[in-house]
């Protein structure tokens, strides 16, 4: 084989601590290397042309580039050698930047290590074989998991583009957390007024199939061809018949059912439609509180229902959908403040959370939009807001900033003044994080126009005095302790990952961080992709986010799906396992260990069994290769021979 080596200076990134000319001259002594040079920026257009020129001029059959991580530029160089007539797998990359020049200052040692890495790459390249990908069809249907504002945006964008969309929502209604909000910052527009039309669109678009009260059971397949099992949970109401008239709710005798949509501020009925604008507007029976389902005599709803939609015998069912891409938009949950003993650990009825206050402010909320205390229904005069409850607090395992609380407190304080002009609002904060468009102006307005008293310091404790709550904290700007007697205390509980995010990530085969937020492929340049091809992210499942960012990410993920679906076929990755049938002893170990179910039995003439890899399912992990006793299964482009050649060079 005739091999050419190109050592990149990367400006001073590599040349600063590696003698690239020396690496190139050393490379000329390696077996099969007929040409070697160093170059300022190999990834630049003239740099690529230099590679192509050398291929033609020196009759190169393989190319090694010693530069940055293959994650950066391997595709660039593969394209370059392909243009010059080589198979793109006759190319190897030695990472002498992230693995060498950036991590050490000893130029002699760095140069020696860089030469070693190049020697290994050359040794491997000598065993490389041309590989060819095949094409397979793309199923142009999209699955959106989660029906919050991010998922809705992604679904509508793709549906507008003419694609079939399947939306799966765990709750009985779509809209997510935004549906629970009263108004939105910084424009104070009504949340349900701006979200409502989008929710209605989802239910009316013919190419969107909505599964509410449903969860993902399992996912198999790969980009372009996923198979998804969806568990439709038993609602005990036949939704095809239910008209959402609400007669059942009025007559249901189980009056002590917690009102989850109103954050337990009131009580609902066991059969319930959570709010007037709910999409789908269908009733669901809460099996834990229904009298009939708990062995008592009832069945009132079944008698009252004018369309006979009640079905106490209903069971969960599984439906299977085939899609080509998946967007995870599973949103977030709110921090449980009961770990804060000093704030009452949830004991005090008049110490509530931000989302509870949203429900109190909302006209469709438990008090009809009139601000009152949960304990005695009195109108509060002094209201204290606490920022950073479960945010920026390492002692409760939440060291990150939730990003939205500063803004929603300012909004709630402004709305409080609108509702109760005689009231006084106090905000305890550490820093104001308001980097969005018109955000800081909004917080200033709360202070300047609405007279909200901002106090810079954390609150140490909250305790009752008479029928009021004493909030004791600090004003660190003055260096004094501060005490406020409050009628109502609102804790701005922070954002945490959605319950069950980890289990879903495992089904999607995507990774998540230590807090349960899904990992994007690159924090800056691939913000909505995951490391699993065909799976994209939108909204707060990736990290705390406000509505504008969630919507933007929903659209971004949708555009990624549309560019995928713009092709009828996708190229398969040929770096997959391959069975050499002559060596296969049919022990079946590879079939057992394959995490993707990509290996199956194949029967030859005469009933001889052999293992066979399904190249479209194989993800190229190499577990079968490591397991196979006679080494009959080999992972293409990382075969035993190739890896051993590298190790031999290193140990020579």
């Amino acid at each position: 084989m005739r091999i050419g080596v190109f050592v990149c200076n990367c400006g001073t990134n590599i040349a600063g601590t590696v003698d690239t000319a020396k690496v190139a001259s050393e490379a000329l002594t390696f077996a099969d290397v007929v040409y070697a040079t160093n170059y300022m920026y190999t990834c630049s257009e003239p740099g690529q042309q230099e590679i192509q020129r050398a291929i033609g001029e020196h009759g190169l059959q393989g190319v090694v580039v010693a530069a940055c991580s293959p994650r950066m530029h391997e595709p660039t160089f593969r394209r370059a050698v392909e243009k010059a007539g080589l198979n793109k797998y006759m190319f190897e990359m030695a990472n002498i930047r992230e693995h060498v020049s950036w991590i050490g200052n000893d130029k002699a040692a760095n140069t020696a290590k860089a030469a070693d890495l190049v020697r290994m790459a050359v040794a491997k390249l000598r065993f490389n074989q041309p590989l060819f990908s095949s094409k397979m069809p793309v199923n142009k249907r999209l699955l959106v998991i989660g029906g919050g504002v991010a998922g809705i945006q992604a679904a509508l964008d793709c549906a507008d583009g003419g694609m079939d969309v399947v939306m799966v929502e765990r709750k009985q209604y779509i809209g997510g957390k935004m549906a629970q909000l009263d108004k939105t910052f910084p424009t104070i527009d009504c949340s349900s007024c701006i979200l409502g039309p989008k929710m209605v669109d989802v239910s009316q678009k013919e190419n969107i199939t909505l599964y509410a009260s449903s969860e993902i059971e399992s996912i198999s397949g790969y980009i372009g061809n996923f198979t998804v099992d969806i568990r439709k949970k038993a609602t005990y109401v036949n939704w095809d018949a239910c008209t959402g008239c609400g007669a059942c709710m009025e007559k249901c005798p189980a009056k002590n059912t917690p009102d989850v949509f109103n954050e337990n501020l009131g009580s609902a009925r066991a059969i319930n439609i959570p709010f007037p604008q709910a999409i789908p507007k269908k009733a669901v029976i809460d099996a834990r509180h229904c009298r009939q389902l708990n062995g008592k005599k009832c069945g009132v709803c079944a008698k009252i229902c004018p369309v006979k939609a009640i079905d106490f015998e209903m069971k969960d069912t599984i439906v299977t959908e085939k899609v080509g891409a998946i967007i995870a938009a599973t949103g977030y949950d709110l921090f449980d403040h009961s770990v804060y003993g000093e704030y009452g650990a949830g004991r005090y009825p008049d110490v509530i959370t931000g989302i509870q206050y949203e429900r109190i402010l909302s006209a469709s909320g438990p008090y009809g939009g009139h601000i009152q205390r949960p304990s005695d229904g009195k109108e509060p005069k002094n209201i204290v807001f606490l920022a950073c409850v479960g945010s920026r607090d390492a002692s409760v395992g939440r060291p990150y900033c939730s990003g939205v609380c500063c803004m929603y407190i300012a909004k709630q304080a402004i709305l409080t003044k609108d509702h109760l002009p005689e009231s006084n609002s106090y905000v305890f904060y550490m820093d104001i994080r308001a980097p969005g468009k018109n955000y800081d102006e909004f917080v200033r307005r709360a202070q300047e126009e609405y007279g909200v008293q901002y106090i810079r310091g954390r609150v140490a404790k909250i305790y009752p005095r008479g029928d009021r709550m004493v909030v004791q904290g600090a004003d660190t700007l003055l260096g004094v302790q501060v005490e406020v007697e409050a009628d109502l205390v609102v804790l701005a509980t922070g954002i945490e990952s959605s319950a069950g995010a980890g289990e879903l990530a495992e089904k999607l085969r995507i990774s998540y961080d230590q807090y349960g937020f899904y990992m994007e492929s690159h924090p800056k340049l691939r913000p909505v992709e995951t490391n699993t091809a065909g799976v994209y992210l939108a909204g707060a499942c990736q990290g705390p986010k406000d509505i504008p960012s969630s919507v933007a990410q929903g659209s971004a993920a949708a555009s990624k799906v549309q560019s995928l679906f713009a092709h009828d076929t996708i190229e398969t990755n040929p770096q997959v396992a391959l069975v050499n049938e002559r060596n296969c002893i049919a022990c079946g170990k590879c079939i057992q260990v394959c995490p993707f179910g990509a290996i199956q039995w194949k029967e030859l003439r005469g009933g001889i069994k052999k293992a066979e890899v399904l190249p479209t399912v194989c993800q190229g992990c190499g577990v079968c290769n490591a397991t196979c006793p006679p080494k009959a299964v080999q992972l293409q482009h990382a075969t035993d021979n190739q890896l051993l050649a590298e190790v031999n060079e290193l140990c020579a």
């Binding site: 000093e342 950073c388 920026r392 607090d393 390492a394 002692s395 409760v396 550490m430 810079r456 310091g457 954390r458 609150v459 140490a460 404790k461 004791q472 904290g473 600090a474 004003d475 660190t476 260096g479 004094v480 302790q481 501060v482």
Partner: protein
């Protein structure tokens, strides 16, 4: 100490001091983001010259003279409310304790009476095996040069049995006195450097 309204940070910033406080307390003071929770929790903020949040800030800025000369570190009752509530898991009370020890070593104790109380308290424990209040209080009062403070409370406390005429008999009080010797020997060896070592297992209390 007088409050300072101008700090020439470059001149007065003592980085060795920051390191010494961190070593003596085992805490990373740079973790403090000045939320004020310790100050809000502290029962003695009203009496401090610098609230505890500001003591932490002054340590971050390496302001050795102000910190070691402050009354706050001596008024601290070591109740540990600050430690309990610190969102960054800093043991603030231990930082205060380290500062008291450093203040003694550098001979900058701002409230010698309180230092005297610590001394007399420990002397009482060493002598009697536990505190003998009826002995401790008059001696402390004499040392603090206010002999009649709280004197009027004595009869009532005696009648209620809160004070006794004779020290309680503690078993093996000599062994307790030995603890003091062991600590002195182990922790303040020749170089005067603190060596936090556990007592030898032979010490039978």
């Amino acid at each position: 100490m007088e409050r300072t309204n101008t700090l020439s940070i470059r001149q007065s910033r003592d980085t060795d001091f920051i390191r010494e406080v961190e070593e003596a307390s085992g805490q990373d003071v740079s973790k403090c983001y000045q939320c004020g929770n310790c100050m809000g929790s502290c029962a003695y903020t009203f009496a401090y010259d610098y609230p505890v949040t500001q003591i932490m800030r002054l340590v971050q800025l390496g302001q050795k003279d102000i910190v070691l000369g402050s009354s706050a570190i001596w008024l601290c009752a070591n109740c540990q409310a600050c430690t309990t509530r610190c969102p960054n898991d800093i043991d603030v009370a231990r930082v205060m304790e380290a500062l008291r020890i450093m203040s003694r070593k550098s001979d900058t104790v701002s409230l010698p009476d309180i230092q005297a109380f610590y001394d007399e308290f420990l002397r009482s424990v060493k002598t009697f095996g536990r505190v003998f209040e009826t002995g401790l209080l008059p001696i402390y009062n004499l040392r603090a040069k206010k002999p009649f403070t709280d004197f009027d409370l004595a009869p009532r406390l005696l009648m209620k049995g809160k004070l006794t005429f004779f020290p309680a008999l503690v078993k093996k009080r000599k062994k307790i006195a030995e603890i003091f010797e062991v600590v002195k020997r182990d922790r303040f060896s020749k170089d005067g450097k603190a060596r936090p070592e556990p007592l030898s297992s032979k010490t039978d209390i």
